[in-house]
């Protein structure tokens, strides 16, 4: 169950349109390491998690990613306000524009529409948590790459916030992995799936 709050997690307030920047930032909306994939990955993986701490982390991080999806949507929306046809063409935004005008559509920077392969869900918590640690780093690298092309402080500020959250989520997933392995028979970490083969848990 979700309740909408009429507020972004971190303010987005961009004065100057910049369709060239919008074209690359859209990748964190619907690209391979974007926020749509992140939110659906965690909110899907949580069902098969074998411990309450892991269910809680995936629920809360997955929900936070929905906030980030909304922030990226707001950034792209504000970067593409009040554009002339000439500005669109000059910035190379015309390819996106003919398909979606200035609507927000989940696609990567290279224009590939969102693909559900971005949502890894293996049903093995050790596998899934390693996936998530990598996913947070991939998103962090993507934000670092985006920052290389940003010279507008109005854009840099919220992108830096989002980048910092990837680092925090990485930390929490690392703790999840430790909490899980602490409960397992240490001889059997990778010989069993803790969601399926419940005998791999230590006897209490």
């Amino acid at each position: 169950m979700f309740v909408y709050e009429k507020q972004l997690q971190y303010p987005v307030r961009i004065k100057n349109p910049n369709p060239a920047l919008a074209k690359i930032i859209i990748t964190q909306y619907g690209g391979p390491d974007g926020e749509l994939g992140a939110s659906l990955r965690y909110l899907s993986q949580r069902f098969s998690m074998p411990m309450p701490e892991l269910k809680a982390t995936l629920t809360d991080v997955g929900t936070e990613e929905l906030n980030h999806l909304e922030m990226i949507g707001a950034i792209v929306y504000q970067l593409t306000r009040n554009l002339s046809e000439e500005e669109i063409k000059k910035a190379g935004f015309d390819a996106y524009f003919v398909d979606h005008t200035t609507g927000i559509y989940p696609a990567s920077a290279s224009g590939v529409p969102f693909n559900a392969t971005a949502i890894a869900s293996k049903g093995d918590p050790i596998t899934d948590l390693h996936e998530n640690l990598a996913a947070e780093q991939k998103a962090r690298s993507t934000y670092d790459n985006i920052l290389r092309f940003c010279d507008d402080p109005d854009v840099i500020d919220p992108i830096r916030f989002l980048r910092a959250r990837e680092v925090v989520h990485y930390q929490r997933f690392g703790e999840n992995l430790r909490l899980l392995t602490d409960r397992l028979d240490s001889k059997n970490y990778y010989a069993f799936n803790p969601s399926f083969d419940t005998q791999c848990f230590k006897k209490k």
Partner: protein
């Protein structure tokens, strides 16, 4: 930044502190001091939300009682630069 946006920013700051603490508590559920800190932020949040909603309308639908002001602009992505 307008007065509305400044108040919203204060609310957002408290809410964010709670969100970040929540993630920490998910992996450290027995941490009493952090739980206490969370309660403090929630206390700080209450009067700010009350003031905001009285002046500018509801932040969640649950708080919309008299008229359906939920539909009113601005929506969160409508901030002008």
């Amino acid at each position: 930044m307008t007065e509305r946006e400044m108040l919203l920013k204060k609310i957002g700051t408290c809410k964010f502190a709670v969100t970040d603490i929540d993630l920490f508590l998910d992996t450290h559920p027995g941490d009493k001091a952090t739980l206490q800190k969370r309660a403090e932020y929630l206390e700080q949040l209450k009067p700010l939300v009350k003031e905001y909603e009285e002046k500018y309308g509801p932040l969640t639908k649950a708080d919309d009682v008299n008229t359906w002001s939920w539909v009113k602009d601005p929506w969160p992505w409508d901030t002008e630069g």
